[in-house]
C-alpha cells in the first residue's frame, strides 16, 4: 500500500490518522503541504521517526524546494514525480485527503 498525505501536520490531523492505519512495509508519500512533516527538529518529527521503524517514508522534491525545506529527517527518501509514479505502479494507493 501507498498512502499519500498532502496536509501540514502542524495544522491538520491527517498525517497522524494515516500513520495509525499504515501496515508494516507500506509506503507513505508526503506531498504538497504534507512535506512540512519531513523536517527535523519540529514538534512533529518524532511522529515520522516512529513511522520510519515500520514503513518507507518519501517526500516529493518539488514540494520541498517550493517550501525551502532542507533538514530532512534521516531515513526519508526524497523523490520526484517519476518516483511518485513508480510508487503508484508498485502499490495500491489511498490518498488521505
Amino acid at each position: 500500500m501507498l498512502h499519500t498525505v498532502n496536509k501540514s501536520p502542524f495544522q491538520n490531523g491527517t498525517m497522524e490518522s494515516c500513520l495509525r492505519c499504515v501496515n508494516p512495509g507500506d509506503a507513505v508519500l508526503l506531498l504538497e503541504d504534507g512535506v512540512f512533516g519531513a523536517v527535523t527538529g519540529t514538534s512533529k518529527t518524532a511522529l515520522i521517526e516512529e513511522a520510519l521503524k515500520n514503513a518507507e517514508v518519501y517526500a516529493l522534491s518539488a514540494d520541498l524546494k517550493a517550501r525551502a525545506l532542507e533538514n530532512i529527517i534521516p531515513g526519508i527518501k526524497v523523490t520526484d514525480y517519476a518516483g511518485f509514479v513508480d510508487l503508484v505502479d508498485q502499490n495500491k494507493v489511498h490518498s488521505w485527503l
Binding site: N6, L31, D33, D80, Y81, F84, V85, V88, V93, L97
Partner: protein, 118 residues
C-alpha cells in the same frame, strides 16, 4: 499500468490540480496508459475556457485541453458541474461532460486510481 486520476479541487486555488498534472506528465513519460481523468467537486472548474490567468502564469485549462488532444479521456461530472455553472459552452476543447458512471468505470478498469484534492 493503466492509470486513472481524480481531481477534486479547482485550479489555482489549491495545489491539487498542479500535482495531478505533474503526476500525469511523469506517468506519460514513463509510457503508462491514462485510462481517464475525472473532475469532481470544485475540480470541475479546471476546464473553463473563460479563465484568463496573468501572462506569466500557467494556463491550467489549456494544459488539460492539450492532454485531451493527445487522446486522453477527460471527463467532468455533470451533477457537480451544473451546480457550479460549468456548462458545455464554457469548456475548453477535448474535454467532455458526463456522469459519475464514467468515474465508476475508471475505478473498475484502471489498475490504479489516484486522487488529488483537499
Amino acid at each position: 499500468m493503466k492509470l486513472a486520476v481524480l481531481v477534486l479541487e479547482g485550479p489555482y486555488n489549491h495545489e491539487a490540480s498542479d500535482s495531478a498534472y505533474n503526476f500525469i506528465q511523469a506517468a506519460l513519460e514513463k509510457g503508462h496508459e491514462i485510462r481517464g481523468i475525472f473532475f469532481y467537486h470544485d475540480g470541475v472548474y479546471n476546464v473553463t475556457k473563460l479563465m484568463e490567468p496573468p501572462q506569466d502564469d500557467r494556463h491550467i485549462a489549456n494544459r488539460w485541453s492539450e492532454l485531451g488532444a493527445k487522446g486522453i479521456d477527460i471527463v467532468v461530472c455533470i451533477a457537480a458541474a451544473k451546480r457550479r455553472g460549468i456548462v458545455d459552452d464554457v469548456l475548453v476543447p477535448n474535454v467532455r461532460i458526463s456522469g459519475l458512471g464514467q468515474l465508476t468505470m475508471m475505478a473498475i478498469e484502471a489498475d490504479r486510481l489516484v486522487t488529488f484534492g483537499d
